[in-house]
């Protein structure tokens, strides 16, 4: 990680731990699942990386949404819309699929990816040499890399939340910034 060389990094961008959000303000998003649901498939690792192996095993069989692969970079931004295809039915199926990582489980539609155009723009912003280019396949792979990063963060945050809930701190199932703060150092070392 070349953070020492990163001259474009803006000043300190610390996490601002907010106070806990009340249930009332978030009721719209709680409706889908009861808090604490999914605790049944706890597969806690004792190797100091909680959630990593379980998350990876769920990532591995995840076939990439093929529609993304057919996209040309100049394709429009509308590809965010394919997330609408997830019905609750599929989601419960995916939940059980995560319990048994054996065998390739084909999941219809992975998470909505970061639009390739956006990612390309962000990467080009980061280049110091304005003549530097990035290949399409490389861009797609980078997209997968970032997607894995996000999903890994989510998986570890869920694990952190579970641990906190077991210790008696807030069991409302909402992932908090504090969870992210706890996992960030190890996550960044791993990526």
């Amino acid at each position: 990680m070349s953070s020492a060389k990163n001259t474009t990094r803006k000043g300190p961008a610390p996490f601002k731990p907010p106070s806990r959000v009340s249930d009332a303000s978030r009721s719209a998003r709680t409706s889908t699942k009861a808090p604490g649901q999914g605790q049944g498939r706890q597969s806690r690792d004792s190797n100091g990386l909680p959630g990593f192996s379980s998350a990876r095993s769920s990532l591995a069989p995840m076939a990439r949404n093929t529609s993304l692969l057919d996209l040309d970079i100049e394709l429009d931004d509308d590809d965010d819309e394919n997330e609408e295809t997830n019905t609750p039915q599929q989601n419960t199926a995916e939940t059980t699929a995560r319990e048994t990582p054996t065998g390739p489980v084909h999941l219809e539609g992975g998470p909505p990816p970061i639009p390739l155009k956006l990612l390309a723009r962000l990467i080009y912003e980061g280049f110091e040499d304005k003549n530097m280019k990035i290949g399409k396949e490389a861009l797609t792979t980078t997209s997968k890399y970032i997607e894995t990063f996000v999903r890994e963060a989510m998986a570890r945050a869920a694990q952190e939340r579970k641990d906190s809930a077991e210790d008696g701190f807030g069991g409302d199932g909402f992932l908090q910034v504090e969870d992210l703060e706890k996992l960030a150092p190890q996550l960044l070392l791993d990526f």
Binding site: A13, P18, V21
Partner: protein, 114 residues
């Protein structure tokens, strides 16, 4: 918020970050549905900051990898090099690359074979 020509640098960045925020939010919502958790907006914001910074770092890494190889074009090998310290991630990305190459037929050639 109307973008004005004068403040391009700042507003461009802000808008890019907003776009990233939106994309990350969608991913988080999707994952949250699967795992039975929800995420606070603050969580999504903090995650966005993290991803933003990570993309900046990634971008510099890729540029330097390509330069080191004497290229002015980042290719897939450079991206795979990102995961050099994490075997699982490396395997994941390699299988992903194999997968898209298989789908695209002769797509990228066989430059990755090693």
């Amino acid at each position: 918020m109307a973008p004005r020509a004068g403040t391009d640098d700042v507003s461009d960045k802000e808008r890019l970050k907003s776009a990233l925020w939106y994309a990350i939010g969608k991913m988080v919502d999707h994952e949250a549905l699967i795992s039975g958790h929800n995420a606070t907006p603050q969580f999504i914001g903090a995650l966005t900051e993290m991803v933003w910074t990570h993309i900046e770092n990634t971008s510099l890494d890729l540029e330097n990898f390509a330069k080191h190889a004497g290229r002015s074009m980042v290719n897939t090998d450079d991206v795979l090099l990102l995961a050099r310290r994490n075997e699982g991630l490396d395997a994941l990305l390699r299988s992903f690359v194999d997968h898209i190459r298989a789908e695209h037929g002769s797509g990228g050639g066989s430059k990755r074979k090693s």
